[in-house]
Amino acid sequence: MVSKKMLGLLLVLPALVMIGVFFILPLIASVIGAFETPEGAGLSNFVKARELYSEDILFSVLIVTLASLLIGFFAIAIGGYLTLGENPRAVAILRWLYRWPLFIPFIVVGQTLRTFLARNGLMNNMLVGSGLITPDQALSFLDWRGIVIAFVWKQTPFVALLVAGAMASIDRGTIEAARNLGASRPRILIEIVVPQVLVTLTVGLILSFVTMMSVLSVPLMINAQSPTMITADIAFRINAYGDYGVANALGFISLIITSTVAWLYLKLSVKERS
């Protein structure tokens, strides 16, 4: 009996060691590092981070929240059309197209959108060319808007994939019952379908939120000037100053933000189950 237990432990040991050494330990080291100062343990890294980057922290949270909301909206629209669409050809085309951005790395998204959204980029050239705007009306989107567009473009397929899967597995009868009573398709989507996939949608959005909080390439490519995102600041502290203390403090702050979101989710799902 005892040897069987030992064998079981032995079997999971390599995985445990991997997680401990490569995930938990660096995380703890980074958290401890945030509180290490030349004068011993203290909060001076956080004070400095607040003085220098409080605007960027707020900027990051707002951008990622806005992007998450837009992603949720588009994911529901795509999933909804895949589930309720009545033109089989349009549904097939959408099903084939919408996943493409999943296979494109963030850095490429950033690079592509940089050339597309710039003041003399492809988008403005097209708008000017079609006579919709004059050249002096052309605006650069390479600021917070560019970051939001890049995030939404890249993350929508991921959430749409999860949401469409969940929508496909709900009882079709619940949709037909609403149709039978005269509900329009938008109404069916909002009142019947979305409530049934709410948990999946929330999970998708939280995973996206955490992913977006950690992306460095997009803010660097599209908007490296102030205000920018926390990730760009962390990279800057380390590369330009070798200042691991403040970098760790910023890392700890973004960890707090993502943990808050995860905690909200847990609270929500517990409420759902009770």
Partner: protein, 393 residues
Amino acid sequence: MVQAGTGSGFLALKGLAARYGATPVLSGIDLAIGKSEFVALLGASGCGKTTLLRAIAGFVTPSAGTITVGGRDVTHLPPDKRGMALVFQSYALWPHMTVAQTIGYGLKLKRRPQPEIARRVAEMERLLGLEGLSGRKPAQLSGGQRQRVALGRALAIDPEILLLDEPLSNLDQRIRLSVRHEIRELQQRLGITAVHVTHDREEAMVMADRIVILDQGRIAQAGTPEEVYNHPASAFVAAFMGAENTLLLAGRRNARHFMLHESARNAACVVHAQHSTLPDGPVEARFRAGAGELLPKAAPGAPPSGTLELWGEVLSTSYPGGLWRHSIKVGDTTVLCDAPRAFAQGEPVKLRIPPAALFLFAARPAGAPSLPGARPSAARKDSTPEPSSQPEA
């Protein structure tokens, strides 16, 4: 048969056909359902009964034919414009909505004022015995309660026609028996026209005014429960109505009668006019286990005129309750027969089947896979599936 209000039919189907891709599912369905009539669509799984119901409801686009309600053509109207409400087999309740929200949803869609909705919901809850459950969600309801909520949702919008897709199949046996009567009673009280899909013969018999038996996408027979039970139009219907014992006999027809020849396993017998349309030659005889009388082989006396007598030997007995069930070897086939007392295994017996319980059909050609060819007098116009005039979007 004369049905109240049948005539041309309140709900009338004419030449209805449907297909999934290239596979025909329904063909040549002609059916007239009277106002306030309760019709059961009965058939084995895959016979097209649910497709027929869904075509009536507007969820399946027919490839040919028309559906009219009170003379109004609804064939191409969306489901909510037909004055019908469908109760789904799975109930299809919305997991996030309470009982009151679910029942009131149809009225909310019709933009009825809130007090009116509340009044109607309360009325439905009272009617269906759901009082005190307004605030519950489906997960907190029993199977029977869910079924009643689904019924309430359909009835709340006051439909002219109620469509029921095997609404009892998810209930356990005991509840099912009482819900049958509840639904029937409710239907009669509201005077609503109902079409009920089921594969359960007894359920169809006790609930419906009229039973429509479907076989391979066609109507095999339509009639009152008493008619289809006692006068099955085909071997398929007879089998479906419980006449599972089948024997191949031979006979000859004259002007008014059909004479069954004597053989090693049966006495000669003259059967009456109703079978006089049978062709000469082999016939398929069908009867129910409870229809015959079992006697010792040596019992004296000849059978009454018209009663078929079979000779055999008891293979085994069992006691399912009430009567003893005997498995009897007659020639090279085995039939089942009930008797009030148990006969010994191996005992030679004779089995008498009175004319009313004996169903004769022209025998199918050997190896014929399906039944259409075996339809004797009730053979209907054989309609091949029409080309799809309206492919489904």
